[in-house]
């Protein structure tokens, strides 16, 4: 049995890659869900090409890839509530703020940096 320290640390998981050409997004999701299920304080950050993971109406039907993005809707069951996206990354890619999950917080670069700074542990995928 894993002993979990009672003194809570906050963990940030940064997603910086587009969703389907590699497995980074899925690997990050697996880590986020396990931290959530151990009641660890975990937040998700989407930045750079990672913002594509939040864009709605994506289908993987034609590319023989499981659409792991559908699992994002389970975040609330894992108590993953802090989901941040970098506004500048959206602007650079001419993407609208229309996401496939609710309660995504769009932050300016400065706010994004400050939010990240509130975390003791950072993992980046």
């Amino acid at each position: 049995m894993i002993k979990v320290n009672t003194q809570q640390k906050r963990t940030a998981i940064i997603n910086s890659k587009a969703p389907f050409s590699q497995t980074h997004g899925k690997d990050a999701l697996d880590v986020a869900l396990i931290f959530g299920s151990f009641e660890q304080d975990v937040s998700l950050f989407f930045q750079g090409d990672g913002v594509w993971q939040l864009i709605n109406d994506q289908s993987t039907d034609g590319i023989q890839t499981k659409n792991y993005l559908k699992t994002f809707s389970a975040f609330e069951f894992y108590d993953i509530e802090d989901i941040y996206v970098c506004q500048q990354s959206l602007v650079n890619r001419q993407l609208n703020e229309t996401f496939h999950i609710n309660d995504v917080q769009v932050l300016t670069s400065i706010e994004f940096g400050k939010a990240l700074n509130r975390h003791q542990h950072v993992l980046r995928f």
């Binding site: 979990v4 697996d30 993992l123």
Partner: protein, 121 residues
């Protein structure tokens, strides 16, 4: 002194792994408490004893074995990532080196909870 855990995500044939080993050994040699290493993504390939790297090139596995022996350093590989890459501990086909421990994601939560800092390499 603050304790640290490391997550290694690079394959043994990547020079980034040589850098990771240098950084980890540098922490160990300064008596910084290293609670453990968690191998994830392509990092789990470091545990594959069947990977043959030309003898005039960097032998990452030898270095991991040495760190494990010298410093009693726990080397955890992520089971999910390992299975996906053909690593197995089934007796006949076992290709995981003895220095490594097969662990689950929960070990990562354990390491992260124990360590003051976590560094991803």
């Amino acid at each position: 002194m603050k304790s640290i855990a490391f997550m290694v995500t690079t394959a043994p044939f990547s020079n980034l792994t040589a850098t990771a080993i240098q950084i980890i050994e540098s922490a160990l040699s300064q008596n910084i408490p290293v609670v453990g290493i968690f191998f994830y993504q392509d990092g789990v390939l470091n545990a594959n004893k069947n990977i043959m790297i030309a003898s005039d090139e960097y032998q990452a596995l030898h270095q991991w074995q040495r760190l494990h022996k010298t410093y009693n350093l726990p080397l955890h590989i992520c089971f999910t990532a390992a299975e996906k890459r053909g690593l197995t501990d089934e007796s006949e086909m076992k290709n995981i080196d003895e220095s490594f421990i097969i662990s689950g994601f929960c070990e990562l939560v354990g390491l992260s909870s124990k360590a003051d800092e976590i560094a991803q390499l």
